[in-house]
Every structure is written in C-alpha cells, then in structure tokens.
C-alpha cells in the first residue's frame, strides 16, 4: 500500500439496505475507494480490480436460490489470491459460524450490530498494521 493510494474496499452483501449503510459509514470515515456487490459471483468477477480488503456477508444465498453462499465465495477468493484479507459479516452471533469463517481463512468475523462498523474499522487498521509488519519482515529476510 502506498500512502497516496486509497484503500480499495469490496463490500459484498445481498442486503441492499445494510450494504448502503455500510458504504455510507466507510465513506464518512475515510476516503476509501469502495465497490459494492450484491452477490458472491459479481464479487469474484471483479477481483481483478485488486481490492485491499473484502468485507463479505455470510448469507449470500438468502433469496436467490443456487447463489454462491458466503463461505463458498470466501474459499474462491482465497483460491484466487490467498493474500486478500476477507472479513466476514453475519447477523448470526454464533460460534459455529465464526469458526467456519476462521477455518476458511477469513481474517475476522463480525456480527452485524450497532458496533459492526467500529469493529470493521478496527480490523481494517489491524490488517494494515500486519501488512506493514510483514513487509518489514520480508525486507529483513531478503537481506539475510
């Protein structure tokens, strides 16, 4: 990440209302470059836009039958590029869901609640903190 480059976020949720709210929250918070997608399929098609972070809803197959669900999408994103951090969103506060997400290499899991946005914000900060540390580590490793 270069400092002058905007952070590119993918928000993927089939709940249009929630998606909009999240987009508004992020845009108000910082100058993110945001792309929103209502389905896992549309998100996959646009992975070539190189998102820095993807925020992915767990329930993507709610209304549209045979739609890719959140976990499948997560797996496919990770197959495409395991380095893209994905934060899972769900309205279910369930350990099972959380564990499923983490097993499939999600960076974190957030429950849709009043504090979801703050939590997402914190997680994104953490992601970039880690990335910076990794970069530093690689720099040293290269020179050893």
């Amino acid at each position: 990440m270069k400092n002058n480059e905007r952070i590119k976020l993918f928000l993927v949720d089939d709940d249009a209302v929630y998606l909009k709210l999240l987009e508004i929250d992020f845009l108000q918070y910082a100058d993110f470059s945001i792309e929103t997608y209502p389905t896992g399929e549309s998100c996959m098609k646009n992975l070539t836009h190189f998102p820095d972070v993807i925020i992915l809803d767990y329930h993507l197959d709610g209304i549209v039958k045979n739609a890719m669900n959140g976990l499948e999408t997560l797996r496919k994103i990770k197959d495409f590029n395991p380095d893209i951090p994905v934060i899972m969103l769900s309205s279910q506060d369930s350990i099972e869901v959380a564990i499923n997400c983490m097993h499939n290499r999600a960076f974190d899991y957030v429950v849709k609640s009043e504090t979801a946005f703050f939590r997402l914000r914190k997680i994104i900060t953490t992601i970039f903190h880690y990335k910076k540390m990794e970069k530093e580590l690689n720099w040293y490793v290269d020179r050893m």
Binding site: D15, A16, V17, L19, I24, H59, I63, S91, S113, E114
Partner: protein, 678 residues
Amino acid sequence: MNNQESQYARSLIEASLDPLVTLNTEGKIMDMNEATARITGKTREALTGSDFFDYFTESQKAREVYQQIFAKGFVKDYPLTIIDGHLTPVLFNGSVYKDDQGNVLGAVIVARDITEQRRIERELIDAKVFAERAAITAEEATAIAELATTIAKEATATAEEAKNKAEYAVKSKQQFLSNMSHEIRTPMNAIIGFTKVVLKTELTAKQKEYLTAIKMSGDALIVLINDILDLAKVDAGKMSFEHTPFKMAASIAAMLHVFEIKILEKNLRFVKEYDARIPEILLGDSVRLHQIILNLVSNAVKFTAKGHITVSVRLLEETPELATIEFSVADTGIGISDSKIDKIFENFQQASSSTARIFGGTGLGLAIVKQLVEHQGGTILVKSKVDVGSTFSFVLTFQKTDIVSELDTEIVELDPQIRNIKVLVVEDMALNQLLMKTLLDDFGFDRDIASNGKIAIEKLQLKSYDIILMDLQMPEMNGFEATEYIRTKLNSKIPIIALTADVTTVDLAKCRAVGMNDYIAKPVDERILYSKIIGLVKKATPPPLHKSIETEMVVITKCTDLNYLLLRTKANPNLMMEMITAYLDQTPTLLQAMRKGYDEKDWEILGATIHKLIPSFSIMGMHANFENMAKKVQEFANNQHQLDDIADMVFQIETVCNQACKELEVEFNNLKNSNHEK
C-alpha cells in the same frame, strides 16, 4: 708587618669558626686555626706537616681542590667532607698566596662548615618532599573523594533505578491484577449469570445438579479472585477505608442473614448476641466490616459439624466521640492445634494442608481478615482447642456521628409496585448485554441497550431514562468519558451506576470523580442490582410526565423513526435518500419472498428472507419488538418447530414493513423537496 698587626690578624683567623688552613705547594699543612683542630679532632702539632688530603673522605677530590687552586689561583665553594668524629660537610674556598716576587708559596684554604646548612637544606627538602607527598595525598584524597562521589552518585542512581523498578513493578503488578481481574471477571460474569438464568428454567434433576456445580465453582473462583486482589491492594498500600455513616445493627443483621440457611442446612445453632448499648449510627467502613465477619463466620460454618456458632458484638468502651466494639465469632468446630495457631494468619495457610482438601478455601481469608482489622487500627485474637472449637475476636474503634445514614445498603425486597423504570444499559459485550436484558426483564423494567458511550449519549438525547448502568471499558467512548459528558455537557443528574469487573480502588475513585452515583461489581448480584436501582431511582426526582407520553405517542402513530439514520448520515439528505431508496427497493421483494416461503412452507426461503429483513428494523428506527419477532420467525423456520405461531408474526411483520414503506416514501419526498428548495 709589625708584630702587633700580625698578632691582630692571627687573632681574627683564630676567631673564625670556619677551619682555615695554609698548604705548601706539596699539599702539606703549614698552618691552621683553632677551628681546624676542633673539626678534625686532632692537635695542631699532629696536623702541621701532615698531608692535607688525608682528612677528607674522598682524598682524590681533595687533591683536585689543591691542584685547582694552584692551576687557577683560586677555588670557590668546592664541596668536600672532612673526616672527623662525624664527617663534617664543608665547602672549600681558597686561593694561592705569593711572595713579593710573585712566586707561589702555598694556598690558603677556608672550609666552611655546612652541617647546619645541610641540615636546613635537608629539612627543606624533607619539608618539600613532605609537602609534595601531602600534595599527592591531597590529590589522591581528591581523587578518592571524586571516586567516592561517583560511587555515591552511582549508588543514588542505582537506588533510584531500584526505586523506579520497584515502583514500576508495583504499578505493573497493580495493572496486571487489574487486567487479570477484568479478564477473568468478565467471562465469569457471563458464566455465573447465565447459569443463574438457566437454573430458573425448567430442568431435570441432573441438569440442575450440574448447573449448581457450575455456579458453585464459579462463585468460588470469584471469591478467590477477590481475595487475591484484596491482598494485592494491601501489598500496594492501596487499601483504603471509608468513613461513612452506617447502621451497625441493621448492617450486621443483614449480613448474617446470608448464613442462616447454610447454618440450618448443617443443623447447627446460630446464636447472635448484640449489645443494645452500641450507638445506632457509626462512622466506618461497613463493607470491610462485612468482609471481616463474613470471612470469620464462613470459616466457622465450614469447620463446624455440630454444635453452635455464636456471633457476638459488645461495646467495650464509649467516649463522647468514640465507641470501641469487640466482635467475636465462636464455633464448636474442629479447632486449631497450638503448633498451627501462629500460622493461620499467614497467606495461603490453613491449619493443615489436609483441611484444604476436605473443606476447600483459598487459605487467604484469615490473612485478609488480619490485614483488614490491623489497617483499621484494630487487633485480632484467636483462642482455640482441638476438637472443642475456636473463637476469633477483634476490636475496632468507630467514630460516633449524628448524621443519619444516607446509604441504606439493606437489601430491598422486590416491590411489585415499582415498575416502569426505564433503564439504559451501556455495555459492549453481547453476552453481558443479554444477561442484563434478562435480569432487567425479570425485574419488569424497561430497558434499552447501548454498545458504547457514544450510542448511550445519542439515546439519551432521544429518550428519557430513569437510570443508567454503565460499563467502564468500552470501545469508541468508555464509561468515564460518557459519564463526564452526561454530567457536564448534557447537564443531566440521571443516576449512573458503574458496572465494573475491575474493582481496584483506582477505578472506583475515578468513578466518583466523573460523577457516577454508585457501582456494582461484576458478576452482578441481581438483588444488589435491584436494590441499587430502586434506591437511586427513588432518590432522584421523577422525570416530567408529559415527556414519556410524547414518546409513546410517536410510537403509536409512526412505526419508523429516522433519528438513527440522521445520526449515521450526519443528517446528509442525499445519504438519507439513498438509504431510504435502498430500503424501498429491497423490502417489497423480501416481503413477497417471505409470503411465498410461508405459503409454500419453504422454511428455508422464509428463514433466509426474514434474516435479510432483520438489520433494517433498527436502521429505520422500528420498534425492537418487530426485530425480535423476526428473529423468532427465523429461529422457528430454521428449526421447523412452533410453526403454528409463525402465521401471526409473519402477518405482523408484513403489516409493519408495509406501513414503514409508506412512511418512508413520504419522508423521501419530504427530503427531496427540501433538497430542491435549497
């Protein structure tokens, strides 16, 4: 030269203290004065004609003097040493003397005795050396002094460093304990709380047994954490005692009440003796007093299998200002042997390690009791006999007061008349939120939950509450900041109770400083919670009546409330319109799918559509009842049970969402128009 003149010259020569010798050209002594004879210790006769050189330690050198005189005609200050009784150092001065024709006849030599000069010189040198040495010594002393200073400085630095280290250690220990306390208490809070909640539901005997075991273990763990924290506070010198008025008799009675059932269960007799002469209200720390008696009585109960436990409180002495009271707890238990009795007040000591296995306990109780008593200027004594029993007694002095006790810590019984109390719970942990909801619902109170201080403030501006329960550690805006804001910016006197897992004195002082009214330690004891809420709400002035009616009216007439959106979009009309559009686009489709799912008994679709609807209720400010209803439908649909109840709920959700759409369309147009006007 006449005779008289030569006589005169001779007498001058003889008078000289310096030896005076005349030599002939061969170096033989021709004549001399008295001083020469005296210094060489020889007679004139012996000297005359003798060899001049024989009288010196270095005759070669003496010969050189002689040769020099004859070669140059004189010699000046030539040093030699005369051999005599005691080797006299001399300086020679001499010159040749000639006859009238200029022929050298001999030499006249004067030897100056320089013994004295030498001595003085030596002394001077000695003095110089001494002075030099002294100077060196002084220098050395300075150096040593400097070294000493450096060492002293280093020592000071080391000491300071050590002090800093020690202070840091104490601080980090405090911090660690504070953190640990929080980290352990928070999950314990949930464990114990939910166990209590589950225990209230219908259970099989086995389930009840297991849950009771969980709860007891949880309680024991909390006691241990509290004990460790207390001792740590004593170590850190942080133990402070209150001086607040309290009713001694009522306070002790309420506390002992706790033990009644336990003592009855063990078939023991509980004897309480209270001296009626004790002043009703005293100044002191009732909580600590409870803690002391509680520890002693629970020990007594623990170690007594049959007989009785006697708690007596006696007035020992009373002055116009002070009352000295003796408290004693006697049991007929296993007793303590003489060899162990000195150790029982030490940390982690029980009379024998086997007692710990049989009776449990941390072994910290008595150590804490001792600290608590002694830090209040009291003394504690124990008398015991194995298999007969033990008596613990302590004496404390309390200040007397006329002030009527303001804080009634007596536990208020559940009062069915007090309802309609509106509580705002500010708590970020979902589990704790749920727990508080459950407890408050049990009390029959209205409650709202805010996940952090910021949200709480937003809620306060929209609705009036009777009391706030405030967690301290929260993201975004913590409990301290929120309280400060409420007190100073909102100018509200609403009672605020801190919910804290961290009971270090530091935090409690901070609670008071920012204007909190009281605190409750987690895990929350529901009776304490109830009595504190009632106590504070009763005291506070009731909120104006018309306001609550107003809010209810709003609820009745409209199902949506855009305040949340206003806040989230910072009242940006375009963003609000975007949000409303998203809702209006999505909701009808979802409602259709929901209806279809229900009609076709496609529970999966029903569950999924309801799931999508859930977040929008709170976003559009619809009553939480509908959200809860939707959650229930989702649960029933997913588990496919209680399907009969779904029909009505699906209908209600449909109705309210359709109404919401209508309302939002109006709002959208209003926004659009006002946007155009600008």
